[in-house]
Symmetry: C2
Subunit: 378 residues, 2 copies
């Protein structure tokens, strides 16, 4: 007998309603039955994205939606500015460079958020910047960016603001329209509580204009094709039907609670997690800019961080994430996103206490759980 617990920043656990929806017999996608589902999904996504504009559904990972953003608004030799504060910021740079975009990088130390003043300086220094690529929550470091300030700086320039909200959408606040985000991309396996396999992309009128003129080659991710089909409540290619059906179940749950309640839940889960790891004497990797999506924690000196994560997962069934790239072995990432509630956090912290003790780390057992409980009691 083994129970498994998933506390990773994507995929996140699936609600039973979502799992049951995926077990239904499949329906054909070119039918009024599926069109009704597509319409419902589209409306629900607008609610979660907090936008009046179209939100497109793509059959791909979130990275596919990121590529769609780049190739549809920029042409080779166009200038882009990428805010790069971790692995997923780097992905914007890699995609832009793959398509011959002249790519400026605003490098931010991993574990910190971009300072709006820095962004302003870079924007003023180069009026050729056509698009700014940012990350709502940098999953590799747990840091959340101040997208509202980025939007204020960019909205009156000719540039568009593109936000990777793959981690974070539906978990923390992102006011697509109010914050002047021109393109927001997301994925299914995070705050939306679905398996991976769907990408989402919202499009402002300012960004939509760029699509007409972009000369980057594209076919599968061509948003002109996507929009033409969407206007007829259709998709240009066979969509991941099962995931769209499941999406409606997840959206129903989010709408039932309401975004504010969902965000407040994530805030509390994050607060409890931070309090717990601090009570254990551990240090937060991003003490100032930590998100309510995933908490990155420094592995105590002398402890094998990879072994910690492996033992929690393979011996006790509690999956958290390790560090990526330069942070491999140096941090672990404890996610509190999606279909997660207080006793999942208690379970995760309890397992962390157990394995830390077994690895010889000195602290008083139960103090992490106690700190979390005290937050949840409030």
């Amino acid at each position: 007998m083994r129970k498994n617990y998933l506390l990773t920043p994507g995929p996140t656990p699936l609600p039973p309603e979502v799992r049951a929806a995926m077990a239904r017999p499949i329906i054909h996608h070119r039918t009024p039955q599926f069109q009704a589902m597509l319409k419902e999904a589209s409306e629900g996504l607008k609610y979660v994205f907090q936008t009046k504009n179209d939100v497109f559904i793509l059959t791909s990972s979130g990275t596919g939606a990121m590529e769609a953003a780049v190739v549809n608004i920029l042409s080779p030799q166009d200038t882009a500015l990428v805010v790069q504060a971790g692995k997923f910021g780097e992905r914007w740079t890699e995609i832009c460079k793959s398509y011959g975009i002249s790519t400026e990088v605003l490098d931010v130390e991993w574990g910190q958020a971009v300072k709006p003043a820095e962004l302003e300086k870079r924007l003023k220094a180069n009026p050729k910047i056509k698009a700014v690529f940012t990350t709502l929550c940098e999953t590799s470091t747990g840091v959340v960016s101040d997208i509202a300030s980025c939007g204020r700086l960019i909205k009156d320039t000719p540039a568009v603001l593109v936000v990777d909200a793959i981690s974070g959408l539906g978990a923390i606040d992102l006011k697509t329209d109010d914050w002047s985000c021109d393109i927001v991309v997301s994925g299914s396996q995070k705050g939306l509580m679905l398996p991976p396999g769907l990408g989402f992309l919202s499009l402002s009128p300012k960004a939509a204009k760029l699509i007409e003129n972009s000369k980057s080659p594209r076919y599968y991710f061509d948003l002109k094709k996507v929009k033409k089909a969407f206007d007829k409540i259709d998709t240009p290619f066979t969509p991941a039907i099962t995931l769209v059906v499941a999406l409606n179940e997840a959206l129903k749950m989010i709408k039932q609670d309401g975004l504010e309640v969902v965000f407040a839940r994530h805030r509390k889960l994050a607060e409890a997690t931070r309090a717990a790891v601090k009570a254990l004497g551990l240090e937060l990797f991003a003490p100032l800019d930590g998100s309510d999506v995933v908490t990155a924690v420094k592995v105590p000196a002398g402890l094998d961080g990879e072994k910690l994560v492996k033992t929690m997962r393979d011996t006790y069934g509690v999956t958290i994430a390790g560090g990526q790239e330069e942070l491999k072995g140096k941090i672990f990432r404890f996610a509190h996103m999606g279909f997660i509630e207080e006793f999942d956090i208690i379970t995760g912290i309890s397992c962390l206490e157990k394995v830390l003790t077994q690895m010889g780390y000195k602290f008083q057992m139960g103090t992490g759980v106690k700190a979390a409980e005290e937050i949840f009691l409030k």
Copy 2:
């Protein structure tokens, strides 16, 4: 109470084992647990593709895998030859043109298969042709191509043979290695009995060499990234975990029966369908080159073909497909692919008889079903 029957050329009905697999709790993709699944899937796909080479799994529709084939082997201005005998042949042309490939088209009349002699003539006429794009089963017309002959013509030239086997793989024979197919692409929602959302791509050593030199821009579909990850039993981006888990269930079923038994079943289903519609006095759209995947049937003069399909679906729950593009309203397409057996065909033919009668078409009721039954009795 409504029972639904799916007789469309993708998606095809899901076996209960596949549906149940998708309802399981999700697991994380960067774990030994998922790696074991990826490895199993990879081996199973090699069996179905009849290849010793790698078969990659992409998170996309089949069209995404088609794009991956084009952009990874060709550079702008390279010359490609597309065998175009329907809507999905046209898709190769569209993708190639989107990426600036100099694209020659071998136009074949819809409803017929390419004549190998024609292909040979075109290959000899232009030695610059670097890749030939073909379609195993052209879903829009029901026609199957002689890929073995295409392979024989191409294997000793510098060109590579690329086959769209989205419709057909796992339903009819396609000997990837023996027939010298350099790239075979497929999708999940046809012979593999899964929902849409996965693309597959096999790669010969001859095609693998081209990847090193292709200058087409790409990121999400970059097979160099995919191969590098696959060699470590991983994927470059978050895969559609649930569909990979389900894929293993479908592959298990196919392996249990064995490909020969699976192909024989499809042959019999197709034979029964053709016999039934002919017994009803209807005319096959592709009498000579009809596939064992989907049967295209001409709508009798004076009958509204779109209404026929709509009535079967919306009044009686039996979904078949209508004609696409220039064939809209002129044909209907009755699929017999995937998780389909004899009584599904009987159901579909019986419903067809009912609606034809209601629409005023004259024939003796029961003759279609009788003809199918006689085939199944053999």
